[in-house]
Amino acid sequence: MKSFVRMSYPYILWIGIFVVAPMIMILLYAFTRGGNSTLTIHFTLENFGRFFSDPDFMRVLWTSLRIAFITTVVCILIGYPAALFIANLPERRQTLMILLITLPMWINMLLKTYAWRGILLNFDDMSSEIKVFIGMVYDFLPYMIIQIHTAIAKLDRELLTASYDLGADKWKSFLKVTLPLSIPGIISGVTLVFLPAVSSFVIPKLLGGGNYVLIGTLIENYFLVAGDWNFGSAISLIMALIIIAAMYFTRKIDRAAEEE
């Protein structure tokens, strides 16, 4: 057993260098001012004040959250029936269907988005917001379907039989048995869709035709163009906090659902 523990050292080292260290640097940058000289450190909350006191930035944050939220809801609305349908197929067909759904996930996201861009160029009248949603839902839907499908497939079929025996019709059995028991699947689907969707900026950038400034674009802009690493770090940190909070709440809902 001890030898297995040792085998995790490379991974811990990896995490330390590429995840923890950058996080600490972001933290340091976010609370300081004046980028390039690290010799004198002035701690300040200025960067955060600047972000939260600015109505334009708040709107950008709101837009990012809104787009991610709608994407997630649409993914559930399309993904749940799809997952339910697949779960009710015979075993071998299920494997095939899941394979078909996984297939596009193997293709690079940028490539898929460029393909969508080519297709959507032909629809002049479609608003850029709809185009963004099409691209986002297309990209994130498989994650949702697979998570929900796994939860439903795990379900004990006897429970449904029992429910029918007790006089519940199909719809009622679904509401009382299948749906509550598949909530953990929905929750992990939400984690896999909502969180990356908040910070996604390539899809809105490519499909939104440059009419969208989202939080990811802001961060990129302040780091690469403006060279203001402090403010960029502050926005990144705010994003990280939102994501952590979102994860905390989904966990909580998940646990509450399990206890029921």
Binding site: D56, L121, G210, N211, N221, Y222, L224, A226, D228
Partner: protein, 361 residues
């Protein structure tokens, strides 16, 4: 069968040996496979990188060729990483800053002895009057490209930059996502200098840009405007003359306008960072690129104006690739046109304000 095989083998052997021999003859000076690190703008060299290939052969070296997409990215990378670049191609104002911060080394004029052929407009430039640190690579102006089937040329010429405040182009315009250029058109439109540091003027320009944002709701893009305009997806865009020369050569409905209010003339020039790993090879590279053949290949492919007088004549003149293509040849000597001056204290502020314009409702 055996005979055929051996004949084939002989052919293969000959073809293997010959290029080596041919290559060996061309070597001017042997650098034994040393690596030259070149950091240049994206799609800013000839199509097949012939210019690099011939240099590699001439000096038996390797080239590590990387791209950046803005002066600010270049600067950030230069600060952030410790990759020792040998050649950079920043624009005028960024060169000025790099000189001021002592990040460049003087060029070796005993190697770069071919500067007599520089075209008149790119001689004695304010940021480096005697080419101590830099040799022009390509130059251009900022202008308007528009679809003549959608917009009346007389109207665009008459309005100049003000066309970007015209409600009739709402939803049909690209705006180049560059803080400095955006503020330039606003400042010029209001009759101020593109290098203004006067906060009142900058506030006014900021208002102008917000007004533009609300009136025409442009798509903020960078190089996407090149294909977009070539395909006629939008009616009008801000752009760089070289890109516009290309767009016009692809789509003849498109036309170029150099606004009467004046614009920015930009010169991108080759420089050698102070910490370059291989200065001698870098100086040789600058000389190589400045020669007629290389300069012709680069300017011909990119559509940007060559700093080499002979090449300019060749490409713009009768029978040249850009014969009569007004976007290829930046107007020279127009009093209202300006080269950017480095504004270190203002750069962050302009970027911040520009980001807010794009994010505004």
């Amino acid at each position: 069968m055996k005979k055929i095989l051996s004949a084939l083998m002989a052919l293969v052997l000959v073809s293997l040996v010959f290029p080596v021999l041919a290559g060996a003859e061309d070597v001017v000076e042997d650098f034994h496979g040393a690596v030259l690190n070149v950091f240049n703008w994206g799609s800013y060299i000839d199509e097949d990188e012939q210019v690099l290939e011939s240099f590699k052969k001439k000096y038996n070296c390797e080239i590590n060729y990387k791209n950046y997409d803005s002066n600010e990215t270049l600067y950030t990378k230069l600060l952030g990483g410790d990759d020792p670049w040998d050649i950079l191609v920043p624009s005028d104002y960024m060169i000025e800053r790099l000189i001021k911060e002592k990040r460049l080394q003087p060029l070796d004029k005993s190697i770069i002895d071919n500067l007599d052929n520089l075209a008149e407009p790119v001689r004695n430039l304010a940021f480096d009057p005697d080419n101590t640190y830099s040799v022009p690579y390509l130059w251009q102006s900022v202008g308007i490209v528009y679809d003549t089937t959608k917009l009346d040329p007389a109207l665009v010429e008459e309005k100049g930059w003000e066309i970007f405040l015209d409600p009739s182009i709402k939803g049909h315009a690209y705006m180049y996502d560059s803080a400095r250029d955006a503020f330039m058109i606003a400042l010029k439109s209001l009759g101020y200098s593109a290098n203004s540091e006067n906060l009142e003027e900058i506030d006014a320009a900021n208002e102008w840009l917000l007004n533009m944002h609300r009136t025409i709701d442009p798509s903020y893009v960078t190089d996407e405007m090149i294909d977009g305009m070539a395909e006629g997806l939008k009616w009008i865009s801000l752009g760089y003359s070289g890109d516009i020369a290309y767009i016009i050569s692809e789509n003849e409905d498109m036309a170029f306008c150099a606004p009467w209010q004046g614009t920015n003339i930009a010169v991108d020039a080759m420089v050698i960072p102070a910490n370059a790993g291989n200065p001698r090879l870098a100086n040789l590279f600058i000389r190589h690129v400045t020669e007629y053949e290389s300069s012709l290949l680069i300017s011909d492919y990119t559509g940007y104006a060559s700093p080499n007088a002979q090449v300019l004549e060749e490409l713009y003149g009768p029978g040249g690739t850009y014969e009569g293509n007004s976007a290829y040849m930046p107007r020279a000597g127009y009093a209202a046109d300006e080269i950017y001056v480095d504004l270190p204290d203002l750069a962050g502020e302009l970027n911040h304000r520009w980001t807010k314009v794009m994010a505004a409702q």
